[in-house]
């Protein structure tokens, strides 16, 4: 599907090899960014390389997020691990379980004589990538949060207020029905990542537990709790809307973006990191907060970070670690973070970058761009809203997706789908912990 970037990556390796080595220490950085986000990676690496003379960061594209993770694991087993690897949010549990394979970012920075001041970073993001004792394990590179997008032209045709995006899920369902019924668009609502948006973030945003043991953050023995009534009602509503096409399913990951971009659906929930493509399409779009469940007390709470972080492999030379530390220090600089945030739609990692962007008037010119940050930082996280961390979250998501697909195809009710997901998911967690 994305052979282009592989070629580019191959060329990058080629050019990197062609540069005379001199005394520079190479730092390899495996990543999974494509399109506009891949350009950001290249630019950041080039700028860092030009900013000093001791280290050379070499970014290498390794495919999708799961492919990159697997490539890293295979390389580690073959004793060829890269220095830095980008791992997506759900891979965090996998990496944390592999303590012997990685070197915590906090240690990398300490050893290089840099002080890591937590208060400078956005608290919700840093907490997610830290051990329960507070040691930061990986460097948050690109963090995102799910938000609501809507097509203003379709809203207008359907007779809806173009400046009032839906706030609750009930409002989403009502507006979606109106869009469909008025013929403004063939479908009312679609969404990417049902597991991430409608389960993991749904739980945090509505302040209900996803799994026991603080969603697995307080300890790896966790049992899923996603068949509680609030989830069942939510998914039954989705399944009912799917029957006449008011809700349209696009696929397990971000495939639904194409449906929204094609103007087939009026309302869309997707990562804030997906903004770049929507801007590029030239659509007359609006942004709203992620909707919450009006039955949930204390909603909206806060959303949890998605995206990816950078992990450092263990067993490298001191010189390499110094280079990695220098690179992370560079990445934390306010202007670099500002660039990353404003170009890609990902969240800034440091408070300073957020403040600077605010002062520059960027959010006034680009309404909605602050939404994901406000969502994540609005309230002090509760036990339900710090994130979800399971040893095998990718596998759990697969199980959930399979059950959802059967539900949306009308083969089972929401109650059955979620009960099955809990039963199969718990069995999978137990078997993964058995290792």
């Amino acid at each position: 599907m994305t052979r282009g970037p592989i070629l580019t990556a191959a060329l990058l390796i080629g050019t990197a090899a062609a540069i005379p080595a001199e005394a520079k220490t190479d730092i390899s950085w495996w990543h999974a960014m494509t399109g506009a986000n891949a350009e950001v990676v290249t630019k950041i690496a080039n700028d860092f390389n030009a900013s000093q003379e001791d280290y050379e960061v070499v970014p290498v594209f390794k495919g999708t997020y799961p492919e990159t993770l697997n490539a890293g694991i295979a390389a580690f087993r073959a004793k060829q691990a890269p220095d830095i690897m980008q791992v997506f949010d759900v891979g965090t549990g996998v990496m944390m379980a592999a303590e012997g394979a990685i070197k915590p970012v906090a240690d990398v920075l300490d050893d290089a004589g840099m002080t890591f001041d937590k208060s400078q970073y956005l608290p919700g993001i840093v907490a997610y990538y830290s051990k329960p004792d507070g040691t930061m394990l990986s460097f948050p590179y690109n963090s995102s949060s799910p938000i609501l997008y809507y097509n203003k032209d379709i809203f207008e045709k359907a007779g809806l207020d173009v400046n009032a995006p839906p706030k609750t899920w009930t409002e989403v369902w009502d507006m979606a029905r109106k869009i469909k019924a008025s013929g403004a668009a063939p479908c009312g609502y679609t969404s990417t990542w049902l597991t991430w948006i409608h389960l993991e973030n749904f739980a945090a945003w509505n302040d209900v537990p996803y799994a026991t043991n603080e969603n697995g953050l307080a300890g790896s023995e966790a049992e899923l709790e996603i068949n509680a009534p609030i989830y069942v009602n939510h998914f039954q509503a989705l399944a009912d809307l799917a029957k006449d096409g008011t809700f349209k399913y696009g696929g397990r990951t971000s495939e639904a973006k194409q449906i929204f971009l094609a103007g087939e659906c009026g309302i869309f929930t997707e990562s804030s990191g997906g903004l770049g493509d929507i801007v590029k399409s030239g659509m007359n779009y609006g942004i709203g907060q992620l909707p919450y469940d009006s039955d949930a007390e204390g909603a909206p709470q806060n959303t949890i970070p998605g995206g990816a972080s950078l992990w450092v492999f263990g067993g490298k030379s001191d010189e390499t670690y110094k280079g990695v530390a220098a690179f992370f220090d560079y990445l934390s600089q306010t202007d670099v973070q500002e660039y990353l945030h404003q170009t890609s739609g990902y969240l800034p990692v440091t408070m300073a970058a957020y403040e600077a962007t605010k002062e520059s008037g960027f959010y006034e010119k680009n309404p909605g761009r602050e939404t994901p940050i406000l969502q994540m930082m609005g309230k002090e996280p509760t036990a339900n809203s710090k994130g979800v961390r399971l040893v095998n979250l990718p596998q759990i998501r697969d199980i959930e997706n399979e059950e959802f697909e059967k539900m949306l195809a009308g083969q089972q009710t929401a109650q059955q789908a979620l009960d099955n997901a809990v039963e199969r998911g718990n069995a999978a967690i137990q078997s993964a912990l058995g290792q």
Binding site: I73, V94, A98, Y249, A262, D398, A409
Partner: protein
């Protein structure tokens, strides 16, 4: 048959050495690794390994998802092999009848074989994707609720069609060759005796093609079992639900996505046993009934 002998004792070994080396490195060594790993339980990074005997095999064989994959594989392989061979045979016999433009037709029909499996998958996906598929729209216009993202039967139909389409060229090539080897005199004699086209085909052509058909049956079964991974990966990713998850896809998914190496290795060992058994059965029982003219 004359027995060819080499004067030298070492030479024959030297000549087969490259082939042996390739088999050792690319087949026996990985197979041995898989066997070893199938008896172990290991974390993804290989930091802690534990010998568990046959526990992985017991877990796999009692897993409903594996049994589902077995059923999916049987349906998928049987349909893919049957469709690609039947259509190729039809095309080959029709192309044989042509007087003008025979070579052009043949060349065009062989083209799809040059398409890589993953690309073939993408082509079919672009044609039949429910949102942007070129052919999905007319399907919906004629009243079919086309949605392979949620409808398992449609998804299965789509991957079978893509896999069969890709293999038609290969089968076509062999059937054309097979047809050319059938003596024209036999067919002419039958025609003089008053046998019609269908009768000539079923009583003369089809039996005489048996060696080709048998060879293709083996090749197509292996193709459907292993080489279609790229198509399934590109078109459905094993979904919806697990409707198109074949045994090979499950090996990949459990090993490389879910990172359960022991279970994945056990599955690949079982798969290896299945293929060895199938090939043995095909050669032992079906080959006996094949005539090699």
């Amino acid at each position: 048959m004359n027995r060819a002998t080499f004067p030298h004792r070492l030479l024959p070994y030297l000549l087969v050495a490259p082939q042996l080396a390739i088999s050792l490195v690319f087949f026996y060594w990985p197979a041995a690794q898989a066997l070893r790993q199938s008896t172990q339980r290991e974390d993804p990074f290989g930091l802690a390994t534990q010998f568990v005997g046959l526990a992985n095999f017991r877990a796999v064989l009692s897993d409903p998802a594996w049994l589902n994959a077995l059923r999916v594989t049987v349906v998928f392989s049987a349909w893919t092999a049957f469709l690609s061979m039947a259509i190729a045979l039809l095309l080959a016999t029709q192309a044989e009848k042509l007087i003008r433009g025979k070579d052009v037709y043949r060349t065009l029909l062989i083209w799809p074989y040059a398409v890589a499996t993953a690309i073939a998958g993408m082509l079919w996906l672009f044609l039949f994707n429910p949102s942007f598929g070129t052919l999905a729209w007319p399907l919906r216009q004629i009243g079919i609720r086309w949605d392979p993202l949620l409808n398992g039967t449609q998804a299965m139909g789509l991957v079978i069609a893509a896999a069969a389409w890709k293999q038609i060229s290969y089968n076509f090539l062999f059937f054309v060759a097979g047809l050319q080897a059938i003596p024209k005199s036999l067919l002419e004699a039958a025609a003089i005796d008053g046998a019609g086209g269908a009768r000539r085909f079923w009583t003369i052509t089809f039996p005489l093609l048996a060696p080709t058909t048998f060879f293709l049956l083996v090749v197509n079964t292996v193709y459907a079992l292993f080489d279609t991974f790229g198509i399934i990966h590109a078109v459905t990713g094993g979904g919806p639900g697990r409707a198109t998850e074949t045994l090979v896809y499950k090996v990949y998914n459990d090993g490389f996505v879910n990172l359960q190496l022991g279970s994945s290795a056990a599955q690949s060992v079982i798969l290896m046993a299945i293929v060895i058994a199938l090939t043995a059965i095909q050669f032992r029982y079906i080959e006996r009934r094949v005539h090699y003219g």
